[in-house]
Each structure stands twice: as structure tokens, then as C-alpha cells.
């Protein structure tokens, strides 16, 4: 805050007219992107939607489980699995907003104003990715915790009953928050890479919704080697309660997913720096 309001005016220099000494800094770009994020209605709407998906779907499935209305796929489910049922839906909402944060600037023309103010360009990408990633992680973590706290109450009388102190529960909930935060970062990167809202959302849906299903077309030996490393599956390992031989451990999943995030950001940075606006 202080660096924003305190603008030193070098009135000592006799050669220059008394002009204030403005300067672009990384912190100021961050402040600007923060203001931009919250001054759009789409941010509030989509974040609310993402939060609602986490809460509503997690609670509905817990309630259905308690009522015995679910099929046998859910027999071994635990409270944390049920309360994180909304993650795939929330990831779409949060991912769409991430794409909008960056690609929306291209579709509206705002990017010309943005990059005229920050012609070094990369601070804009880092700020957007960091801020939005953080916002998505905070919203998702809050949603996951609330979904679990309420959901675990609903299923407390069943074999799915779990409390926060049970093994893996805290890690699962924080993993889900972190996963959705990184989804936010990746989607900002996709927006910068494709410069198109429709294109960014298409790739997002393709990679996180369609691609996991397509691997079953591969020969099974390939599938076992490739499948765990896909962004969706590696990410899922971060918050899944149980792991087997076909999935990565939570730590390995995090490392692989961070790799995908870094790769997307690197591509986005390259295109932002190299291509004309």
C-alpha cells in the first residue's frame, strides 16, 4: 500500500520541470492486476459458481450416500472422497475464469492498454498467474474444508465416517485446494498461450475431461506408463485418499502436476514475449 500512495516528487532537479517520478515495479503490477481481477463481475460470478460446485455436489453425494441411494461404486468411499466429489466440476469453473483472466484481455482489446503500461510484458503474466492461482487455491481450500466438515457430519453414522484428524484427510483437503489453485495457474497460462477464450476453454476441457478417457484406447502396457502422468491423473493423485499401483503417490503427483504447470507457463511466457499483440 505504501508504495502506491507515496510517490516521491524530485523537485530538486533544476533541469526538469517538477514532474513526479513514476515507476513500474513488480509490486505495482501485482496491485494493478489485483484491482483488475476484482473490478469485473465475471470474477465474482465464476468464483461463486466454483465454490457452489464444491459445496453442493459434495453435500448432495454425502446425503445420498447416507440415504443408501448410491450404487456399489461408492461402497468403499470415505467421507473425504464424497466431500471432494465436486472437484471436477469446480475445476471447470475455476479453469474457465483463469482462461478469462488472460484471454479476456485479448478478446476485448484490453491487452493493448495493459502492455502499453507494462511493456516488459512478463510481469503481467507472473502477476496474473500468481494472484489468480492464490485466489483459486484459497476459494477451493475453503470450499473443500466446508464440504468435508458438513459432509462428514452427514455420513458420521456410516462406515464412511471420518474426522479431520484421520490419516490422509487433511492432506486430501489441502491437496484439493492446491490442485485447483494450480488449475488456476495453468488456465491463465492457457489463456496467454492461445489468446482466445474459446480456444483456452477447449484445451482445458480436452486435457482435463476428455484426455483421461481417451487413454483407454491405447495398448494397456502404454496406458499404464502414460496414464498416471497425464495432468488430470497426476493432479488427482494430489488429493485422492487412496493410491494403488496405477496411480502416483501424492508427492509424485504434485511434482508431475507442477511440471505441467511450469511447462504451460513457460510456453505462455515465450508467446507473450515474442509475439506481437
Amino acid at each position: 500500500m505504501s508504495s502506491l500512495t507515496a510517490t516521491p516528487e524530485p523537485r530538486l532537479s533544476p533541469a526538469e520541470s517538477p514532474r513526479p517520478a513514476y515507476r513500474v515495479t513488480g509490486w505495482r503490477v501485482l496491485r494493478s492486476e489485483w484491482a483488475k481481477l476484482w473490478s469485473l463481475r465475471s470474477t465474482w460470478i465464476t468464483l461463486t459458481l466454483g465454490l457452489m460446485f464444491l459445496l453442493v455436489f459434495g453435500l448432495i453425494i454425502s446425503w445420498q450416500f447416507n440415504a443408501g441411494n448410491l450404487d456399489s461404486d461408492f461402497d468403499t468411499s470415505k467421507a473425504v472422497d464424497l466431500s471432494l466429489f465436486g472437484v471436477p466440476f469446480a475445476q471447470l469453473a475455476l479453469g474457465v475464469l483463469g482462461v478469462l483472466v488472460m484471454a479476456g484481455e485479448y478478446s476485448t482489446g484490453m491487452i493493448r492498454s495493459t502492455l502499453a503500461a507494462v511493456p516488459r510484458r512478463l510481469p503481467v503474466l507472473w502477476s496474473k498467474a500468481a494472484l489468480y492461482g492464490l485466489v483459486a487455491a484459497v476459494v477451493a481450500s475453503a470450499g473443500a474444508f466446508v464440504a468435508f466438515l458438513v459432509g462428514s457430519q452427514i455420513v458420521s453414522g456410516t462406515e464412511a465416517a471420518q474426522s479431520l484428524s484421520d490419516a490422509g484427510v487433511l492432506r486430501s483437503l489441502l491437496g484439493a485446494g492446491l490442485y485447483l489453485g494450480l488449475i488456476g495457474v495453468i488456465s491463465v497460462g492457457l489463456g496467454a498461450l492461445l489468446r482466445s477464450v474459446a480456444g483456452g476453454i477447449s484445451v482445458l476441457v480436452g486435457v482435463f475431461v476428455l484426455l483421461p478417457g481417451l487413454t483407454s484406447l491405447l495398448p494397456s502396457s502404454w496406458e499404464d506408463n502414460i496414464s498416471p502422468y497425464l495432468p488430470s491423473n497426476a493432479g488427482e493423485s494430489m488429493f485422492a485418499l487412496t493410491h494403488d499401483s496405477t496411480t502416483l503417490s501424492p508427492g509424485a503427483g504434485l511434482v508431475v502436476f507442477l511440471g505441467w504447470t511450469a511447462l504451460t507457463l513457460a510456453g505462455a511466457a515465450y508467446r507473450l514475449k515474442r509475439n506481437d499483440v
Binding site: 510517490t7 492498454s113 502499453a116
Partner: protein, 312 residues
């Protein structure tokens, strides 16, 4: 000060800007003229670093735009009216830009008032009329109190009051010693505000001149005289710097280098009857059309245009 040196931009086969050399100086309004597609917008985008030159360079106040610590304080640019997010209010748009430089909120309010946006500052910019959008773009350009103000077709979509406002703003900024660089495809508009003109066609420099010189070179001060005795009048008017043309057997002469008033006086002095004496004023529009028509005619043969550019 904006300095372009052999500035070139190619998009695949097409050359949008072709070896442009020019300097835009402070303290005057410099018009950047050319038909649509002449490369004006591309040049302006290269000045603020949105497009990278294929070759050559352009600097503002001695450095590339991106190398300045506070770019908005060096160049304020209105590029296209739609460089805003329609969902954001005018105030929030300007404030977000101000935050990148640490420009105080007071300055944001100042430019909002300056652009006459006070009553709509909290409204979504997407609901703005074309003219209001243009005013918001100009408010953004002035935000950093820049030494160079660069506006791409600023009068587009403005009502007469807005056009007048822009004219006064531009001349006012130039009087304050700022560099003012304004593009237009309308010579008539430029003639009212610009002192200096940089004229381009098909990406090439056609003329780097002043408004007065352009008119003069286009034959702006030719006087048409119809007289009873053309041969004698020729002798009477002949002198250094005076050029007289006329077809044999007609009563009509075209005279340059001497005013209609002087011709009339000399004719009276020597008792030569005149039937017609008229100043042929070439409008800037005509001069501009002549220049740009050449650009089309000379397309493919570089020599003609280059020579023209250098002479001018």
C-alpha cells in the same frame, strides 16, 4: 521526440511499413497522414512496443519504449478505441493502469474531469458511445502526464463538440512543449491542427513537410490570368522566381511566384486589359490526393516514391 530509423514491418509477404525514417519533434502538432492501410497504425504500435519491427528501430525520448522506467510518463497513446475491457468502469480502468506506475488516485480523477467523463466514470465502459470510448482512451493517454501524446484517429466517432475539444487539446498540449503525434486519413482535419506533416502511402514515406510547403509544392499559389495581350503581360511580369505558363493562341496564363494583387497592379501600370485574375487555391485535400495517388501509380517502382520522399 520520436525517431524512426529505416523502420520496417513485414507480415509474411506483405510489407506494412517500409523503411520509414522520420522524426517527430516537441512543441508542435505533427500529423501522420495516409490512406487506410498505409501503415499508420502499425507504425504507432511499433512506437509503443506492441509490435516488434522486422528491421530498423524506433525510439521515444532516446530509448526504446520498453526500456523506460515509467513508459506511461513518456508516451501516452490512444491506439484503438477498443483497448478497454467493456465490463470495467472507466474509473476502474484508469485506476488499474495508474496502479502499475504508482500514479496517485488524484491524477485519475483529474484526467476523468479533463476528458469530461465525470458523470459516467462509474459506469461500465461497454455501455459507452463511440465518442465516450474515445474520450476514455484519451484520458488513459494523458494519465501519466506524458511528454509525448500519440493518438491514432482521435476524431473518429466524435461529435462536432468532441472534435473541437480534441483540436484545442492537441494545440494546447503542443504549446506546453509536448510532442504531439496524431494520425488521420482526413487531410482536412489535419490542416486545422497540424503544423508538420508526415505522409505515408503503402508503408512508405511520401512526404515529411509542413502544411504550408505542401500546399506550395502542389501549386497552391498559382494565379490564373486572362488578358488581351498575353505576350506583353509575360514580359511585364517576368522576373526572378516568377514562372509563367500558358498555351500559345489562348488568352490565359498561369503565373506562380507573384501574387494576384501584384499582377493586377503591374497590368494597370502598363495599360494591359485583364479579363480574369484569380488565385487558384489548391486545397490540402487535393495536395494529399495527388501525393497518395502517386503512391499507387508508382507501386512496384521504388525510385519514384523514394525521390519524392527525399525531395519533400
Amino acid at each position: 521526440m520520436i525517431e524512426a530509423q529505416v523502420l520496417t514491418k513485414r507480415y509474411g509477404e506483405k510489407t506494412a511499413v517500409d523503411r520509414l525514417d522520420f522524426t517527430v519533434k516537441p512543441g508542435t502538432v505533427t500529423g501522420f497522414l495516409g490512406p487506410n492501410g498505409a501503415g499508420k497504425s502499425t507504425t504507432m504500435r511499433m512506437i509503443v512496443g506492441l509490435d516488434a519491427p522486422t528491421s530498423g528501430s524506433v525510439t521515444v525520448n532516446g530509448r526504446r519504449y520498453a526500456q523506460h522506467r515509467a513508459p506511461l510518463q513518456e508516451v501516452g497513446a490512444l491506439l484503438e478505441a477498443k483497448s478497454i475491457h467493456p465490463g470495467r468502469s472507466a474509473y476502474n480502468h484508469l485506476n488499474a493502469l495508474a496502479l502499475t506506475h504508482g500514479i496517485p488516485r488524484g491524477r485519475v480523477d483529474e484526467v476523468i474531469d479533463l476528458a469530461g467523463l465525470g458523470s459516467v466514470a462509474k459506469k461500465r465502459a461497454g455501455a459507452f458511445s463511440l465518442g465516450m470510448g474515445q474520450r476514455l482512451g484519451i484520458a488513459a493517454a494523458l494519465l501519466g502526464d506524458p511528454q509525448i501524446v500519440m493518438l491514432d484517429e482521435p476524431v473518429n466517432g466524435l461529435d462536432p463538440e468532441g472534435v473541437l475539444w480534441i483540436r484545442n487539446l492537441l494545440t494546447g498540449l503542443a504549446q506546453e512543449g509536448r510532442t504531439v503525434f496524431v494520425s488521420s486519413h482526413l487531410m482536412s482535419e489535419m490542416a486545422l491542427v497540424a503544423d508538420h506533416l508526415i505522409i505515408v502511402g503503402r508503408g512508405r514515406l511520401l512526404a515529411d513537410t509542413t502544411v504550408r510547403d505542401l500546399v506550395r509544392e502542389a501549386g497552391g499559389d498559382t494565379v490564373r490570368v486572362a488578358t488581351q495581350d498575353p505576350a506583353r503581360l509575360r514580359d511585364v511580369l517576368a522576373g526572378p522566381g516568377v514562372d509563367i505558363t500558358g498555351q500559345v493562341g489562348t488568352e490565359e496564363l498561369h503565373v506562380t511566384g507573384i501574387s494576384a494583387r501584384e499582377i493586377g497592379l503591374k497590368a494597370a501600370e502598363h495599360g494591359i486589359a485583364l479579363f480574369e485574375l484569380s488565385q487558384r487555391t489548391v486545397s490540402l485535400e487535393e495536395a494529399f490526393m495527388d501525393l497518395t495517388r502517386d503512391a499507387v501509380e508508382y507501386h512496384g517502382t521504388t525510385t519514384g516514391i523514394d525521390t519524392l520522399g527525399r525531395v519533400a
